[in-house]
Structure formats: C-alpha cells, structure tokens
C-alpha cells in the first residue's frame, strides 16, 4: 500500500471471560478506502468493531494482545479522555438497530448537535445550523423542520440516516458501520448504501463495513476480509475474492448462497457447526468441516499470508 494506513489492527487478541473470541486479527485500512468485514454470527466481526472503538465492555471483554493504530495513535494505550477525543470526532460509528441506538427522549436535532458541542465546542445555535446542514447531507428533506422530531416519529430508513448524520457530524476520517442495513428493506438498503458511498467520496472518509451479507460487501467494498471463528481466514480485493475465492470456507459460503445456484437445485451446505472456543484444536479452525482438509490442516495452524490476496489455508482452491 502506497499510503500510510489510516487504521492498522495488528495481531489483535480479545478474550471474553478469559475465553478467546478474537485471535491474531490483523488488517489495515488506507485513507479513503472501504474494507468489508464479513462472516456469520459469532465470528467476531462485531467484537472487532467494538474493540477498535474500545467500546467492548470490560469486564467481561479484554484486549489480551496486539495493537490498534489509528493515524499512528495506539488505541489500546489510550486513557478515557484520549478515547473520548477520538470517538465521535475522528472515528464515527453506526449500528444495526437505529431505533435502540438513538435515545428516545431527545429530539434528533439534540442528538446530532451533541457531538458538535462536545467535540467542536460549538454554541447551541451554531450547532443547530450545522445540524440542519447535516440532515440535508444525509437526505432528510426540509431538514430545519425535522430537528424537533423524536426517533419514534421516523421510519427505520430515516433513523439510519439520522445515525449517519450523528456519526458524520465531525467529519471523521473513519466510519465504522456495523450491519448498517441489516434491519432495513432491500430498497431502503440500496438508498442507505448509496448515501454512505456518496458521502465517503465527498468527505474522503475510509469505511469499515461489517456485515453478514456477501452481496453488500461485493458491491460496496474495495477489499474484503472474511472472518471465521475469531480469525481472519482470507482477505483480498473484493472483485478478486468473489470471482476466485481461495479459502475453503469462503468458497463453501459462496456456494451455499441460493443466488449462486440454479433455482430448485439442492443447495450445497457446510456440514457441522462452528466449534466452541475451547474446543479448537491446534490446526485450522475450519478443518473439521472442510471437504478439502489434508492431514496438515488439523495439525498446524496456517498463517495468514500473501499479498494482496492474504490467505490462511494449507490447501487452497
């Protein structure tokens, strides 16, 4: 990568009640770049997002090793004040459920203005003017009139727009979007992704998009990292990853999708289930479910290697 990375996660280990949930997670995001983090529920993708923001409740969660460098600053070493200065200002975050992420007793104007007042030291009226501008930016029409509305008066799509406005209030360099469209309908999803995509270009912002929807990352992201059971198993430019997946898990996952199969045909499936965290042998975590496992797979953990197509597999496709 030519640019110095904006975010560099290095060998991150996270435990919950002493049980490892993330192991040796490493990836980088360049300024302005979009990285998709995909995987099924429980693979650790949301824990990764929360760890970067240092929002993981501690206890039970604990960063057990590794570094998270944001713009050269090690997030794992910051104190509460240092974190507050970065959260909401230089890194914005949006969540899956816009209803529960918004405070029901404040108007949306207050909630968007809050971060401007906190981080930018704006006066109330300046914050209000800026808030109206932000609502315009995220496509909420007649923004001025909308400032006094409460979250429950809005639809899911509008609430997600408000969340985006809050996240973008201070023009962050990085937006972390954790399943931002999962609760939304497909045509609304298209609107929201289109919005995030346009704002990214306008604001020159990098995006970490976390989702279980392979179609969404394929269309939205520059690069994709696939997680399985707390580890990144494959990472590559999006077009390449979906055209030629090399890790056996990525390959199997893509094959099970109904869209990848002729209608009516029996869908391939992945046998077995994800092993429990304490049940993982020395080898590749996917080996017990893998149709291409060789003896080495269960004996030795494959390293994440290669560039730009990184891979953690002894017997790739």
């Amino acid at each position: 990568m030519a640019d110095a990375p904006l975010l560099s996660v290095e060998h991150l280990d996270v435990t919950m009640r002493g049980i490892p949930v993330l192991e040796d997670v490493s990836f980088q995001i360049a300024p302005g770049e979009t990285l998709g983090l995909v995987g099924e529920s429980g693979c650790g993708k949301s824990v990764t997002a929360l760890s970067i923001m240092r929002l993981l409740p501690n206890p039970p969660g604990k960063i057990a090793g590794g570094r998270i460098l944001f713009d050269g600053i090690d997030m794992t070493a910051l104190d509460a004040a240092g974190l507050r200065a970065i959260r909401g200002d230089r890194i914005g975050m949006i969540f899956q459920e816009p209803m529960t992420s918004l405070n029901p007793v404040y108007t949306i104007g207050d909630q968007i203005g809050e971060s401007l007042i906190v981080h930018r030291g704006m006066s109330g009226s300046a914050a209000k003017a800026e808030t109206a501008k932000l609502l315009d930016l995220v496509g909420i029409p007649s923004a001025r009139n909308q400032l006094g509305r409460y979250p429950h008066e809005m639809s899911g799509g509008q609430r997600q727009r408000v969340m985006i406005a809050i996240a973008l209030a201070c023009r962050p360099k990085l937006l972390i979007a954790d399943e931002p469209t999962t609760a939304l309908d497909v045509t609304v999803q298209a609107q929201i992704l289109d919005l995030i995509g346009r704002l990214r270009v306008e604001l020159g912002m990098a995006v970490l998009l976390i989702t279980h929807d392979l179609g969404v990352v394929a269309e939205f992201c520059d690069r994709v990292a696939v997680m399985y059971a707390g580890r990144i198993v494959e990472e590559a430019p999006a077009a390449e990853l979906f055209r030629r997946p090399r890790h056996r898990y990525t390959e199997a996952l893509l094959h099970t999708m109904p869209a990848a199969n002729p209608p009516g045909r029996k869908l391939p499936s992945i046998s077995g289930t994800v092993p429990a965290p304490l049940d993982r042998g020395d080898g590749c975590i996917f080996a017990p479910r893998c149709g291409f496992a060789v003896p080495r797979c269960t004996a030795e953990l494959p390293p994440l290697e290669g560039a730009p197509h990184r891979l953690r597999c002894w017997n790739p496709a």
Binding site: L254, P263, P268
Partner: protein, 317 residues
C-alpha cells in the same frame, strides 16, 4: 392440477387509534396442489398479514379464502379447527415460535392431541418419525427448545407443522433469522419435504434470492396489494411492474454479471393508513402518468410464452 387455495379480493383492515390501516387491500391469487407460491415484498407490504389472514389467525374484513372450494372465512370455530389439519404454518423466529417451557416432544405432539389423533403409543411413534424426517436426533424429544441452535429449532417447528400431514404449508420468513450456511440446510429440507409429501407452500420472504430458489410462481406485494404475479423465471428475467423492477435492481450480488442497473426509489413506502389514491406505487414510480394517481390498476392476466400466465397491476400494460 386442482386448485388448493383461492384467495379472492381479500381485505384485512385494522383499526388503529382513529385511522384504519389497510394491511391487505384487495388481494387475489390461486395456489394449486403441490405448488410453491413465493410472496415477496418489503416490511409493511402486508405479506405477513396475508399469511395470518389465510390461516384465520387474523379475521379478514372482506373477500373470500376458498380452501378446496370451501370458503373458510365462513366456517365456525369447530369447523375451522378441522380445516387447520390441512393448513399449517412455520414462523420466522425460531426462538419465539416454540413454547420455551415445553419439551420438543410435547411441542411436536401437540397438534395430534388437539385433534385427538392416535393413542399415546402411536403418537410417540409419529413424533419419532417426524423428528427423523426433519433430521433431528431421536433423543431431541426430551429436551427443551433453548438447548437447540436456531436452525435446529426451525426443524422442530417444521416437524410440528407437518405432523398432521397438511396439504398446505405457510412459511412466513422461515429462514430470515438464520445464518447463510444454516439457511441452505433449511431451504433444502423444505424443498425435499415438498416433493416427498406433495406439499403446497406459500413461502413468504423479503429475500429475493431465497424466493427465487424455492418458488414456482412469485407474487410481489406493495402496500397491501399484489402488484405482479408470474412464474419465477419470468419475474426475474422480465419484471414488468416498475416496483418489481426497482426491487430486483436493489439486490446486491456477489456475482458481478448478475448486477442490474440500480433503480433507486425516492422517499419511503407510504403509510398504510393513508395509501395514495390510484396506484399505491405512483408516488415513487418513475413511469407515473396522470392516470396512475386517479385510477387503481387491476391485476390483468396475460398469457406469456409457454402458456403460462403473468398478471400485472400497472397502467403501462
């Protein structure tokens, strides 16, 4: 094949505060024996209300539901209970649809008890048979639902629905709460059971790729109405209704060759308490004509190649 279910001009209105919500507003379709009809649409389109109304979990405001020629909206409670043997349902939420305080055996045997079928010995045998049919271990009967994973719980729900050997299975978002790799297992199971038991299905989903995979025909709903209904291949290859076109274009694909030019809809789905006059979609339609806001388009059947019939409710055709 004989017509199993015929829904004619079905309407379900709810009184909410001082407005009437038209959750279903004149829905008509037929379903033949052994056929799978996919019902697709976004939240608020009325697809779940349609499922509940056909099952008479919700009383219709008007119209008829003819099951094997008999209008079940006119049946009294006792006659309806008898009819229920032939129409069963699987719900979306595998955590909410099973009583947490009942063992799996009790859950699956309940329909037999309610309808007074068999004695204790034959019921136990039937439960064991059903558990085997849906691929659950034989010792499941003595365990509680919370001991099972989401996919397994959906198997339990399917076993319960099929224990009475219904002719019609209504599946309301049966795989939406599941991970991709689990989804494919449940889709395969439903497809296999359909063939083995000669089941007809109404398969409701917001996920177009799932709908495409399982359905013979597809009905697209918008704001309480069916806007288009046609054979699956026809809907996907030549969507006629502007809403169907927009809906299909919004689906993100991992396969770059499958992507369509995206038709971004403006605004939000109107409030079902205040549907627009004329065609409900005209406020967001890029082909809207003056006539569209005045006159409600009816579903017009047209014979397409191969002798199949496509019905579209749009003034363009």
């Amino acid at each position: 094949m004989t017509v199993l279910l015929e829904v004619a001009d079905l309407a379900t209105h709810y009184a909410a505060k001082d407005v009437t919500v038209r959750a279903l507003d004149g829905v008509s379709f037929t379903l033949r024996e052994g056929e799978v009809l996919g019902v697709v649409g976004e939240s608020g389109c009325g697809k779940s209300t349609l499922a509940r109304t056909v099952l008479r979990l919700v009383e219709p405001t008007g119209g008829a539901i003819r099951f094997l020629g008999e209008d079940i909206t006119r049946l009294d409670r006792r006659a309806m209970v008898r009819r229920r043997r032939q129409m069963q349902v699987v719900f979306q939420d595998p955590f909410g649809s099973l009583n947490p305080r009942h063992r799996v055996g009790e859950i699956v045997v309940e329909p037999l008890e309610v309808h007074g079928i068999g004695d204790r010995v034959s019921r136990a045998a039937r439960v064991a048979e059903l558990l085997a049919l849906v691929g659950l271990p034989a010792d499941s009967a003595g365990r509680y639902p919370h001991e099972f994973s989401g996919g397994q719980r959906q198997r339990i729900a399917i076993a319960r629905a099929l224990v009475l050997e219904p002719k019609l299975l209504i599946a309301d978002e049966p795989v939406s709460a599941l991970d991709v790799s689990i989804q494919s297992q449940i889709i395969n199971l439903l497809a296999e059971l359909r063939v083995r038991l000669g089941l007809a299905m109404m398969f409701i989903s917001h996920d177009l790729s799932v709908i495409r995979h399982v359905s013979d025909r597809i009905a697209v709903m918008y704001l309480g109405r069916i806007v288009e209904i046609a054979p699956t291949a026809d809907i996907f290859e030549r969507p006629a209704h502007p809403y169907t076109q927009a809906l299909l274009s919004a689906v993100p694909h991992t396969d770059a060759t499958r992507r369509r030019e995206r038709i971004l809809l403006s605004g939000e789905m109107p409030d079902p308490a205040k549907p627009p006059g004329g065609c409900a979609f005209h406020t967001r339609c890029r082909h809207a004509m003056p006539r569209c806001s005045v006159e409600r388009p009816l579903l017009v059947p047209r014979t397409i190649e191969g002798g199949a019939v496509r019905e579209t409710a749009c003034h363009l055709y």
